[in-house]
Amino acid sequence: MDFDSVAMILALPVVGQAALVNLWIAVVATAIALVIATAITILRALRVAPLTAAIDIVVSAVRGTPILIQIFLFYYGLPSLGLDISPLVAGFCAVAFNSSMFVSELMRGGITGMDRGPVEAAVALALPRRIIWLKVILPQLYLRILPALIGEVTMVVKATVLLSSITVVEALRTAQQIASSNFRFLEMMLAAGIALAAINLAIAATGTLIERRIAAMRG
Amino acid sequence: MTDPVISARSLGKRFGAFMALDAIDLDVASGEIVALIGPSGCGKSTLLRCLAQLEVPDLGIVLLEGKPFGTTADGTRRQSPRTIDAIRPRIGFVFQSLNLWPHMSALDNVAKALISVRRMPAAAALQRAQSLVEQFGMAQKASRRPADLSGGERQRIAICRALAMEPAALLFDEPTSALDPELVLGVRDVLRQLAGTGIGMVIATHDLGFAKAASDRLIFLEKGRVVETGATQTTLAAPNTERLQSFIQSVTHI
């Protein structure tokens, strides 16, 4: 078997640079997802039955279809609605939309198992609903879902390589482009794998660090 | 006198730097009930677990009916897992949390080892289990799952499960800790009845009243060492060591 480890190592800086695109998309998409998911959570809390039902259907559809299909739908669908957007934007929207639904489910799960004590105290003080949500429930909820949220960022990083199939130039696409000129497909794929795995390990390590900080802060 | 049913010779166990058991000697005669007392963390549970080889002692030997259990006779080499597993059911163990198997009926809990370990036909095993639970007044509830039994009933099933393998010795870890106070004397009666059949028993307990009511002999442990031992009634009435005296005071002086 011939394996050109030099070609792989030489490709690493280029592919690694491109992997920052994956990281960037993942971080921004998850941040936007957190905002949208918060909005969804508050809409759910209004307990308007038809609204909740509509949210449930969208969440179920997103969780019940592959993200690759969602990417295709955004890529082919948005332009046919008359929106002139680049593959990068379409792909980014798909990933952020997908992540929003998963984060909203994280928040839903997080809220069910939350400590009732502080909320009961706030209710006893007759604080307005809005204040209870903003000052009591949401801050606790964000802390609770933080580990899962960091896990979600790594999930999104993994999903971003699928954007290569709609011509977004990220780590995998870059590796494929190099491979199509030097025919070192295996080596280039390994380079992309190493770069992306390194990014995800770094995210996980950062997450552990943040969690420890928070744990230390709370004493 | 016949061989003791279970003995320990300079048994030692260490957890890191912590000396859990330090040179323990112990002999339990047939039909004798020995209570292990002492403050929590004194090594009571560890001693029971080492006797049953559920914890591997670092030093010393355990003798079961005069034969080495866990190590070779000189204490230098460990017996094979197979040998240990074959001997172990001669010691019945009643855990503090009982550890009944929640996915089986009470009767199946009792019969399981007969079927899986003794390779007894299921019908015969269930019959034997049935007669055991009947002796303990549990015939009506044998088909229930442990979750549907009361604490006292569960304990009786745990005892039956240990007795099914016809042990020479029974070890109890805190048998009264999970029981309502009015059931404690009932446990004593059960133990007395079992002693009558020749089973030697060791009971780890922090309940001095129970130890006094149920045991023939007392061993007071502190920091993994035997501080004092003697016949229960006389020892409790007139302890020889200051340590035991202050322990008795600390637990009775409420």
């Binding site: 019940g64 690759l68 046919s80 794998g193 | 855990f95 550890n99 399981k112 899986s116 370990v117």
Partner: protein, 239 residues
């Protein structure tokens, strides 16, 4: 913008074929992955650091590297090792390995969820370690295994879509074929997405029903406090 339904109705045999292939791949990868996951889980639980490290590496690989990249690496590595297999086999195999890494953690979690004393009680009546695990611990693990495993099945169904990129003829690939012939990507992928959604919904509904049936311990109604009304997000359809 018009939505041309005829694109879906004219090509339904291809879509059906795609669904069947997707289900077939999952039906092989999930149970096979489960079988392989058992030793991996027990390696991760082992006393021996080397076994733990090997299992951890395997699990972390799939946790951190994108599935598509692992798929490509194996897809390109096999020919250099003089192994020539059809994409369907390679794809199913890699999906199975992917499932293994997650199922190993599920099995490990289920093992740890059974209290330690259960195995000890088995040892105390004379069972060997292995016998105790098989006869006492394993039956109690089932309840902890079923919900996450069915969930894994749904994840796998969705993940099969990635196999389209090495031209395995599952549902997404069939969609790509129809799209290439009709140039109607939106209709095609709405149909494909709808089929995935249908399959996943049917499966999760079946799993939920089975779970409810098998739950013998039915908890009583929970007390509702005022705080609960804040902390519950499910709308009441009828008040």
């Amino acid at each position: 913008m018009g939505f041309d339904v005829s694109i879906i109705t004219d090509n339904w045999p291809l879509f059906v074929q795609g669904v069947v292939t997707t289900l077939l791949i999952t039906a092989i990868a999930l149970p096979l992955g489960f079988l392989i996951a058992i030793p991996v889980a027990f390696m991760k639980l082992s006393r021996f650091a080397i076994l733990r490290a090997v299992a951890a590496f395997y699990i972390e690989l799939f946790r951190n590297a994108p599935f598509l990249i692992v798929l490509y690496v194996i897809f390109y590595a096999l020919p250099t090792l003089q192994v020539r297999l059809p994409p369907l086999v390679v794809g199913t195999g890699v999906l199975c390995l992917y499932a293994t890494s997650y199922l190993a953690e599920i099995i490990r979690g289920a093992y740890l969820a059974v209290p330690r004393g259960q195995l000890e009680a088995a040892r105390a009546v004379g069972m060997s370690h292995f016998q105790g695990i098989r006869e006492i611990v394993a039956p109690q693990m089932v309840g902890f295994l079923i919900p996450p495993s069915t969930n894994m099945g749904i994840i796998l169904i969705k993940e099969t879509s990635v196999l389209a990129l090495i031209s395995v003829g599952e549902l997404t690939y069939q969609g790509m074929v129809v799209q290439a012939a009709t140039f109607a990507p939106f209709e095609v992928f709405v149909a494909v997405g709808g089929l995935y959604w249908l399959v996943c919904s049917v499966l999760s509904f079946a799993a939920a029903t089975a779970e409810r049936r098998s739950a013998h311990a039915i908890d009583g109604p929970r007390r509702q406090s005022v705080a609960d009304s804040f902390l519950s997000l499910d709308a009441r359809w009828r008040k």
